[in-house]
């Protein structure tokens, strides 16, 4: 899911033999089989548990976790599911809400039950930010702050030195209640990024906020009602903080309501998970908890018919069902009223229809609803815009990028931009497509300290810039790789060294006495081989490093001396050099 599409995020990653499923969402635009991902892509026959090493949920939005109980309890998966603490806390509540709307209101059967949600949540392991979770010996995952909603996280998945980062949904600019997404320069082989706003560069947040407040204020001043359809958690809290402070500052009296149920509870979550909000809120929460609202009261269904101005936050956010849709129907006919859509609407929803300019809506029972109220769209959804996506790529420095959770046309544009600016490959597979990315993993090996020390000890004395050549033996046994000195390798394998020695006879014309010849050879060599240890031993032989040179008189010709040059294979270069040097004879001795 989420391939060139927004909805039912579900991505399967195979990395170094491990299979990880990223998110398990539902699609809000469908009511049939297409609302859930097609899990038969993972395996046709065989249990999902055997095939998947783990499942990771990035945040609590239903398009990222809505199919989870179906997946784990109805299709069947018993392995670990990872999510952050706030996600673990909030996710089951949204799932239950979703189930209620689907089963109790729309009367669907063959849907997951409350018990299934509970059983599913038992499989969830909560993770801390930046905690390295060892899923098994090789596979590790780590969560980073994503700032999209409370508890939203990006995940790094790592096996050996190969890694993938999945962003989930993220926001690169801090808002009134959450901080900005952050990741270190972890250089993943692949970055899977959302791209909801692939082509948008949003104006400054301040402007949008001012605009929003102005519109609300104007409507209320002329006695109109403002409906703001929201999802219970996320934007709702941001906009509440915004209105609360505005009401306080302007001393406004018109009531603000928050549709009951979920939302009251939601504010509670924000209070308890305040460490996940932004710096400012965290710092001041002891003096004043930003999620305790003075001006915002719980909504009752009957209030909708009250005369006079009011502002109502109602769920759900895309006007596709529930209380927000009910209020919308009541208020749509009056041009004094206003509906403000603060976020993205999926195709097929009422929200999407009115945003695309439709003013006559066909409701259930063929009823036609004429929309006279003002319709405003204001992007408050906390997704990164094009600038933000580029910024994240700059932060993480991935070798490849893969775009999901966006529209194909927009992705295409962003893909080109990414490839141009970062010179990395960028992919945008459609649902059901597989993208293969070749990695170039290096191989970690254990090196014996003796060998390493020997190498680094030679190092600094010689020219530091010159590469240090090292020689060792790589022992491979089972899965362990050890690089040791050749001597140690022989010893460990119980093998003896085979010594290969060469002795060359070099004839030199020199009528002098043997020991004089030797002295001449010694001086000659000493003069040329300045960097080597050349020694004249008491027994009349010469050594150059470990090469031995002895002189004997020729048995037949007294004017010729025979030099025996003897070296082992390890001194091959020097030995060979010495023989050819001596072959050229000795220089005329200077008197």
């Amino acid at each position: 899911g989420a391939g060139q599409d927004v909805g039912r995020s579900c991505i399967l990653v195979s990395i170094a033999g491990k299979n990880v499923m990223l998110d398990c969402g539902m699609h809000m635009g469908y009511n049939d089989d297409r609302r859930f991902p097609d899990f038969s892509y993972i395996t046709q026959n065989g249990r999902l548990t055997d095939f998947l090493d783990c499942v990771i949920i990035s945040h609590f939005h239903l398009d990222h976790c809505g199919a989870l109980p179906y997946f784990s309890e109805m299709v069947g998966y018993d392995g670990p599911i990872y999510m952050t603490h706030p996600t673990k806390a909030i996710c089951p509540i949204l799932l239950e809400d979703y189930r209620k709307i689907t089963v109790d209101k729309k009367g669907e059967t063959n849907f997951f039950t409350s018990q299934m949600i509970k059983d599913c949540m038992k499989k969830v392991v909560a993770v801390h930010l930046h905690q390295t979770v060892q899923v098994d010996e090789e596979l590790e995952i780590k969560a980073y702050y994503a700032g999209h909603v409370l508890g939203a996280a990006m995940f790094q998945i790592k096996v050996g030195c190969e890694s993938v980062v999945y962003t989930g949904d993220y926001n690169m600019t801090p808002d009134r209640h959450l901080g900005a997404a952050w990741i270190d320069k972890c250089r993943p082989d692949l970055l899977i990024s959302e791209s909801t706003y692939a082509t948008t560069i949003r104006d400054s947040k301040r402007c949008r906020e001012r605009d929003f407040l102005k519109k609300v204020h104007e409507t209320v001043e002329r006695g109109g009602k403002v409906l703001i359809p929201v999802f219970a958690l996320g934007r709702a809290q941001e906009l509440c903080i915004l209105l609360e402070t505005f009401w306080e500052r302007m001393n406004l009296k018109a009531p603000i309501y928050f549709s009951t149920g979920l939302t009251e509870k939601a504010n509670h979550y924000y209070k308890l998970f305040i460490t996940w909000t932004n710096q400012k809120i965290r710092k001041t929460f002891v003096q004043r908890n930003m999620f305790e609202f003075k001006h915002i009261k719980a909504f009752d269904r009957a209030f909708a018919d009250n005369p006079g101005p009011m502002v109502v936050f109602a769920t759900p956010g895309m006007l596709h069902a529930g209380q927000s849709l009910q209020i919308f129907r009541k208020w749509a006919g009056n041009e004094k009223n206003m509906v403000i859509m603060p976020g993205y609407c999926v195709q097929g929803t009422v929200g999407h229809k009115i945003l695309s300019g439709q003013r006559k809506l066909e409701m259930e029972g063929r009823q036609i609803l004429e929309v006279k109220m003002q319709v405003e769209y204001m992007s408050f959804s906390a997704h990164a815009d094009a600038k933000g996506i580029m910024q994240l790529i700059r932060q993480a420095e991935p070798r490849n990028v893969l775009l999901v959770h966006g529209e194909a046309k927009k992705m295409e544009f962003l893909k080109q931009k990414i490839e141009q600016e970062f010179h990395v490959s960028c992919f945008m597979p459609a649902n059901g497509e597989t993208t293969t990315i070749l990695t170039n993993p290096c191989i970690p090996v254990d090196i014996s300290l003796g060998l390493l020390k020997r190498e680094t000890a030679i190092g600094p004395s010689a020219d530091a810039k010159k590469p240090k050549l090292m020689h060792g033996s790589l022992l491979m046994k089972d899965n362990s790789f050890r690089l040791v000195s050749p001597e140690q390798a022989l010893k460990e394998l119980g093998l003896a060294e085979h010594q290969l020695r060469f002795t060359c006879r070099v004839h030199i014309q020199d009528p002098r006495k043997e020991h004089e010849t030797v002295l001449r050879v010694y001086n000659h060599l000493k003069g040329i081989l300045k960097d080597y240890s050349v020694q004249h031993l008491p027994d009349g032989s010469i050594t150059v490093e470990s090469i031995l040179i002895q002189a004997t008189a020729h048995s037949e010709d007294q004017g010729t001396k025979v030099l025996l040059v003897s070296w082992t294979y390890q001194d091959e270069e020097l030995g060979s050099y010495l023989t050819s040097l001596l072959k050229k004879g000795l220089p005329q001795s200077t008197p």
């Binding site: 603490h85 590469p467 050549l469 060294e497 020695r501 060469f502």
Partner: protein, 658 residues
């Protein structure tokens, strides 16, 4: 590997570890027992304290009577209380790269280290540790600064004078190192050097060392630390608990396979059972209140107080205490209670589940809501209006030397109806009470120390099996007051290495391997040979690159090929630059096959002679002989380089290279 021990207090440790190329300070504990030698700092002038007689030497000299006061046979310094700092002379503390904090009690000396030693590194601690540590420091600074004391005594510290003083002043150590409390700007500056970390977060230090905090189960955000490279692992266990109180349980599994385990912060009251103590606390409290008396609980503003409030929450209705007011007085009382509710991720499972509902994890939220528990920043202001007796007061400091507790000791000390209940284990209650004697009020000692006891330690060590244990010397012998209790010490094999203040230990450690990475193109070029079943070997000649303590092996650069058109330069004209490494050889040469090979290569006059150890192969025309033995080959020839090279290569074909 060295360990520098800067603190002699086993539960307030301060050690510095030299590990690979890094210098790591483990904790920064501040020994506050030194304050017991000082007179209490009363918020309101106390006629009793100000009338105490000056101390007079045996010979009648009175030159110290301004500095030292006598109270019920004990002598106290009449000055601003001072603390015993960690050793600062043992090594240059500006070389410390990082400081790892295990819990909020073990960071109280941090400003002294970060602000006065030239320290430029980073401090690592969890978020609750930092937040609550800040509260503890704030309370400390506040309770000392708000009682400005004109006098600062120093004459008694003179070595010659100190010798003449009665115990315990006479035996106080390092008095010249005692320091006054830091200030809030210093606290803020110190805390700004902290980087927040989460449990199981791997933090790389200079590419050489990785440090990881693990849950230690003792307090909110308390951690043990793993300090490791690829091959050596040091576990630092400090202030851990296996009891289920409010914090996340201790992570024991990750301590396995340690080469060295440094063990500090065990329980200070090994003979007391915390559960029993809580029971006694509740019953003594109820009894006093029922008899119309007040209860004073000297405590820290965070930690055990949460558990005590939770117990009382369950207890007060059944004990008929519903109408008794509970007061929590501290400049940070409100913050502490608020902060405790927002660290869901650092709490035990039960409390986490409550947050998921969503409900506050600690029931003191309900106590506050129902007005049973009230908190005040100090005894001034609102408190004096609300104050009703009999009541229960939680306030600091547990040393009874400063903070609002001094006021209540003076207020309630004269009545035997009242009770002071000691729950914090850091100070001897008798010493704490000494300047208040004679005292009519009842004293109950219920120390609650949830840290590991010796039975749990021996279980833990059996479980995680470290190669070596290092601990403060106090843990290697029974407590001095109970020398027969040989069960009250750390027992392990090999025996634990002990340390004491100002000592440097060499940790038993032998490294044998290091991690290195082989680049993919080099790996492709390797040719592994199976030497023995299951064991393959490849010789590697490669270029070693070392950067940021990470080693990488790359393909050696190809030697620059001289252009073919130019006259080939004879290699032998240049002196070989350095010893180019040739592989070692192994194997043996079968003489028959060798001869066949020679013949195949055009040697027609090969003659073989047997010798004692092998064979001699003679090439008659070339006047060359080749001695073949089990483990050696010797080629003796005239100076005919092409011939020698040809023979060499033929021999090498029979041998394996290493």
């Amino acid at each position: 590997f060295f360990q520098y021990c800067l603190s002699g207090h086993p539960t307030l440790p301060c050690n510095v570890l030299k590990f690979k190329s890094t210098t790591i300070m483990l904790d920064c504990g501040l020994d506050m027992t030194s304050t017991l030698n000082f007179l209490p700092l009363p918020l309101v002038q106390s006629p009793r304290l100000s009338k105490l007689p000056g101390w007079v030497l045996k010979d009648g000299s009175t030159f110290l009577d301004k500095e030292l006061k006598e109270c019920s046979g004990h002598v106290f310094v009449d000055s601003v209380p001072e603390f015993c700092l960690p050793e600062t002379e043992l090594l240059d503390l500006s070389t410390v790269d990082v400081i790892l904090i295990s819990n909020y009690h073990c960071m109280m000396a941090l400003p002294y280290i970060t602000e006065y030693t030239g320290f430029t590194g980073t401090v690592y601690a969890t978020e609750p540790t930092v937040q609550i540590g800040r509260l503890l420091m704030e309370e400390l600074v506040n309770s000392i600064e708000r009682v400005p004391k004109a006098q600062s005594a120093s004459m008694w510290k003179n070595k010659e004078v100190q010798r003449l003083l009665p115990a315990p002043l006479k035996d106080a150590v390092e008095v010249s190192m005692w320091r006054k409390c830091y200030t809030m700007p210093e606290v803020n500056s110190a805390l700004s050097k902290i980087q927040l970390v989460g449990y199981s977060q791997k933090i790389e230090l200079f590419g050489a060392v990785q440090v990881t905090p693990l849950s230690s189960g003792y307090a909110l955000g308390s951690s043990n630390w793993i300090i490791q490279s690829h091959y050596e692992k040091v576990s630092y266990v400090s202030g851990s608990s296996l009891l289920t109180t409010h914090p996340q349980p201790m992570d024991q599994a990750s301590l396995k396979n340690s080469d060295v385990l440094i063990l500090t912060g065990l329980t200070q009251i090994p003979t007391a059972n915390p559960d029993g103590m809580v029971g006694e606390f509740c019953s003594n409290l109820a009894m006093t209140v029922r008899n119309g008396g007040n209860v004073l609980v000297p405590c820290y503003p965070s930690g055990v107080i949460y558990d005590l409030l939770e117990c009382l929450y369950q207890y007060i209705d059944s004990a008929g205490l519903s109408n008794v007011p509970f007061y929590f007085i501290s400049p940070v009382a409100n913050s502490s209670l608020e902060f405790s509710q927002i660290f869901a991720e650092w709490l035990c499972h039960n409390k986490q589940t409550k947050v998921y509902l969503p409900e506050p994890p600690f029931p003191h939220a309900e106590l506050i809501q129902t007005n049973k528990l009230k908190h005040y920043p100090s005894i001034h202001g609102d408190f004096s209006n609300d104050f009703k007796q009999p009541c229960v007061v939680f306030t600091g400091h547990p040393s009874l030397r400063f903070g609002d507790v001094v006021h209540f000791m003076e207020l309630w000390g004269k009545s035997s109806l009242n009770t002071v209940i000691f729950t914090e284990p850091d100070f001897s209650y008798l010493d704490a009470l000494a300047p208040y004697q004679p005292l009519a009020m009842k004293c109950v000692y219920c120390p609650i120390d949830t840290r590991l006891n010796f039975i749990q330690v021996s279980k833990l060590l059996k479980e995680v099996q470290p190669l070596h244990v290092v601990c403060p010397e106090q843990y290697t012998q029974p407590p001095p007051t109970q020398s027969h209790r040989t069960d009250l010490m750390v027992e392990c094999q090999p025996p634990a290495m002990s340390y004491r203040r100002a000592e440097v230990l060499t940790l038993p450690y032998k490294r044998r391997y290091e991690k290195i990475e082989i680049m993919p193109d080099l790996a492709d070029s390797l040719v592994p040979l199976e030497i023995k079943p299951g064991i393959s070997l490849a010789t590697v000649s490669a270029v070693l690159h070392t950067k940021d303590n990470k080693h990488v092996l790359q393909l050696p650069p190809k030697p620059p090929q001289p252009p073919a058109s130019k006259k080939r330069k004879r290699v032998s004209e240049d002196v070989p630059e350095c010893k180019s490494l040739k592989p070692l050889l192994s194997g043996s040469i079968p003489v028959d096959q060798f001869v066949q090979t020679l013949e195949k290569h055009g040697f027609s006059d090969v003659k073989v002679e047997d010798t004692a150890k092998g064979h001699i192969v003679l090439l008659q025309e070339a006047e060359t002989l080749i001695q073949l033995e089990e483990d050696s080959t010797h080629i003796i020839c005239d100076n005919d380089e092409p011939l020698r090279v040809k023979l060499r290569d033929l021999v090498l074909k029979f041998l394996q290279k290493f």
